[in-house]
Amino acid sequence: MSDAVITRPVRVPSRSFGRRLRDWVANPWGKPRFLVLVTWVYVISSIAPVIIAIQFSFNDGRSLTAWQGFGGARWYWGDPVNSVWHDPALQHSLFQSLKLAGLDMAIATPLGVMLALGLARWRGRLASASNFLMLFPLVTPEIVMGVSLSLAFLNVFTFIEPSTTAQMLGHVTFSLSYVVVIVRGRLFSIGRQYEEAAADLGATPWETLRLVLLPLLMPAIFSSLMIVFAISIDDFVISQWLSCGADCDTIPIRIYSATRAAPLPSINALASIMVYFTLGAIGISYLVYRLMTRGEKPARGGARSMVSEMGAFDV
């Protein structure tokens, strides 16, 4: 930051740090100084606890509150009994979380893309009703979905027992709407002129879909995959309500049951692994997204639009 300031031609006579500090103390409400302070304090305090938790996953000792030196990968795989890799319960929960996220991505994304296309273009009363139904999972508190799904599997779909299958069905149900919102947003922003051009040039409907629309939707499909991965791996409530016991434990369920029972740093290591996975996923998706939307107007294709697409709120 300071390099950038120095290399730029300086017009305003620069004031010393002490002088600026004195101005600040004299009038903290002038200009947006107060806002700068609030913003940075918030941003730092929102991230610091997580960084400290990750730090303790590298603790040399068994404490989660006193730093006993850097212990390397002890709690990841070094410890022959208690590390994530060697504790069967922790290792299993890691694979369970990844398995659910993978299944969720594989099912919810294609289903959601089709639903988005259908809902965006099908008009009429039934379409409005379906649209309303699609929005419900976004606003229903998770506990309500958890209770209702578990009661449904207990009383209606009795052939589905609490199991990985049940968890997977639950995950797809709540992630479907996110895919629809993301893909539909993209669908509106690309408009119809490309498909019309393709049709005018003699493409069959199937060719228009496959060769024109699908490639144009790719960035949104990709964002959807990432969102589904993130919300599935983050989910606690649905996984817990449809859990079959220890074999269905995901990482969040493990964290939940461990926090109140004198956990070891291995639980921090497990949670940190989840953070590494998601951060890796965003990193990759950001690069791919940039690659896919290359050449589009920055207003639509830039990082900002990915943020809003992934936030899934800016409909």
Binding site: L35, V50, L111, P141, I143, G170, Y256, V275
Partner: protein, 303 residues
Amino acid sequence: MREHSGIYPRGLWQAFALPGVVWLLLLFLVPFYAVIGVAFGGVDPIFLIPVPAWNPLDWNADSVVQTLRGFLPGGDYWAVFLRTTLYVAIALALCLLIGYPVAYYISRHAKRTKSVLLALLVLPFWVSYLMRMLAWVNLFAPSGYVNDFLAWSHILPDPPDWLNGNPVSVILALVYGYIPYLILPLLAALDRIDKSLLEAARDLGASPFRAFLHVTLPLSMTGVLGASVIIALPMFGDYYTPNIISGSPTTSMLGNQIDLFFHGGPQPAIGASLTLILSLFLAVLMTYYMHSVARATREVRDE
């Protein structure tokens, strides 16, 4: 706008929507009806398992009425209901108090730092909620960094126990947990405000503060409402935050009560009634949000 039935065969979009709609009907609507069925059903006298009533004519309103009565002052759920509402209200107010200035600053003033700040804002989104609660528990443990700091700096030489039935830490944890979900939509709403309106206000002689008060604030109200609803809904159904942070019945919320009836007690009919009452209570908020989303979608589609 030309009608586009020409490009694609009739019924194609309906066919595309069908699998998703069927999925939601079977795994969202039917399950919700199962809650109603269990809430209005009876209990098998021998096995003590719930017998759901699917036909509205067979409904037995005993559990629902009994549960509803619990919400009256002095009833079983009165205190929990009051506490939940209070916690959510305070947490929401704190979220807005912190979140609005942050969103406002990033939308209006941050220039070179904007993308960095945005990335940092989105980051908590990608760290699991439970992970963030775990981090919070580590920090506020009796020998954790927070107490160390409080004792070292003599602010509180004898720091309190944060993690056993302390409502302050439950509310702060709710704020910490949900505020990222408030700031992003708020930021989007503030970004959408037409800057020329603000310039007009300034040109006509309004001070920056008056311009904010009479232009920006009213124009951002829809965004504030939407963002508040987005975080109020899950907060009302939260049971894991109080459980992790406090674990004491003195801080339990409605969600804990529901959790208890399913995972602790043998009265699913009461649990289902509670779930039903919670959903009806939240229906106002849900409908408001869905209407605003539907309106925004129509505007985008028809522009």
